[in-house]
């Protein structure tokens, strides 16, 4: 099973990071994430105190929207091209395939976001302690965002307005991650990190099964 999953994981990762076949790759969400942090000070003015107070929340909103950006390219093209059918024929479970895709998706958007977070933090004049909390929060929260993203991508694969619907579905589901992620940056808000991790774990545990069921139902 692992031996056969490995080439699939490598393919997932290459397609999601480098981009091909209409997939934008990892660059687009990253640029989007940085662009929000860059534009926000222009919009609200250069007041360092105001930026430091609101900046962390902006980082989280940007991370969430960057996660929604590649949704329509996560699962849909492979369902359309018959890859999931061929994998099913070979006895590979959709759950294992989607777990591989969640990991690949996280590497292609979660990791770059964590690497870009110090730049965003600089633009929003966050201090070192806040940046540390943001990084820990992203480490705990982005796997949940990846899991929710892949589930929604599997659910909307094959629907005509899939991408618009996907964004709409993702917003309410990712609200808990946003609340605890941004909340952890409030004074004495470190407890939010534990709740953030809990939300992430629930999403990770449910996602492969929900997504797998969605792909099987989509064949009918």
């Amino acid at each position: 099973m692992i031996r056969r999953l490995w080439p699939i994981f490598v393919r997932d990762l290459t397609l999601l990071t480098r981009g091909a076949q209409g997939r934008g790759g990892a660059v687009l969400p990253l640029l989007f994430f940085l662009a929000v942090a860059m534009l926000f000070p222009f919009a609200v003015g250069p007041d360092a105190r105001l930026l430091a107070r609101t900046g962390a929340g902006v980082i989280w909103v940007a991370a969430l929207l960057a996660a929604i950006l590649p949704l329509d390219r996560l699962v849909e093209p492979d369902v359309e091209a018959g890859f999931f059918d061929q994998w099913a024929l070979r006895g590979l479970s959709e759950e294992a395939l989607l777990l591989s895709r969640i990991v690949a998706h996280w590497i292609s958007f979660g990791l770059p976001l964590m690497i870009a977070a110090p730049i965003s933090a600089g633009l929003l004049s966050l201090d070192a302690a806040q940046l540390r909390t943001v990084e820990i929060g992203l480490l705990l929260g982005t796997p949940g965002l990846a899991a929710i993203g892949v589930t929604i991508a599997a659910l909307t694969a094959g629907l005509r307005a899939g991408s618009a619907l996907g964004g709409l579905l993702a917003i309410p589901l990712t609200v808990p991650l946003l609340i605890f992620g941004a909340g952890s940056l409030q004074p004495d808000g470190e407890g939010g990190l534990a709740l953030l991790a809990a939300c992430s774990l629930v999403a990770l545990a449910v996602a492969p099964f929900a997504g797998g069921a969605a792909i099987r139902a989509g064949r009918e």
Partner: protein
């Protein structure tokens, strides 16, 4: 080749509100070819997907022993990759390295899949099926888009698979020019 068997027992297929066919039974063993014949929309592709286990039959059951390979209208090859690497992806998963018929694709191996013509894509799908070394081939309209020469060659490859002990179920509205073919007319079972 391993012993293989695919048996469908009184299956029915429903798409939407319509029953496409009912009471259809068929069995194929190693060394046999079954040709599913019938006009467009009679349910050939649905039957292939039911036999592949991708679609649940409305009634009846499908039993199978032996590995499956499927070629339908979905190519399952990455468009941006050269044909050789796109096929290599499946060889890697199936763990096969044997020499298989290449359906005249030898000089197209470095061409990205998205540049292939209709007939070449069909041949690439057949090459993927052959390279999987599966014992049961499920082919949905394998001869569509092939010219006379390659239609003939594809049928020879199918026949060679039968002679090697494999089983083939193919859906096609065209008539075949190979022997030892059992034809199942779907019109006889249409509801």
């Amino acid at each position: 080749m391993q012993d293989c068997r695919l048996v469908a027992d009184t299956i029915a297929c429903r798409r939407g509100d319509r029953i496409l066919f009912r009471g259809l039974s068929l069995a194929v063993r190693g060394g046999e070819i079954v040709h599913l014949a019938g006009p467009n929309g009679i349910g050939k592709s649905s039957l292939i997907r039911i036999l592949a286990g991708l679609l649940r039959p409305y009634a009846g059951s499908v039993e199978r022993s032996g590995s499956l390979a499927l070629s339908d209208e979905r190519l399952a090859l990455d468009g941006h990759l050269p044909l050789d690497r796109a096929l290599g992806f499946w060889r890697g998963i199936d763990g096969t390295h044997g020499q298989q018929p290449d359906f005249g694709l030898a000089n197209l191996l470095d061409v990205p899949v998205r540049y292939l013509s209709t007939g070449q894509r069909k041949r690439a799908a057949l090459a993927r099926v052959a390279a999987s070394e599966a014992s049961i081939w499920l082919l949905d309209e394998p001869l569509n888009g092939l010219d006379t020469h390659w239609s003939c060659m594809a049928q020879l490859a199918i026949d060679a698979h039968r002679k090697a002990g494999g089983a083939v179920i193919l859906a096609s509205h065209q008539s075949l020019s190979i022997d030892h073919v059992t034809t199942v007319k779907l019109l006889d079972y249409s509801a």
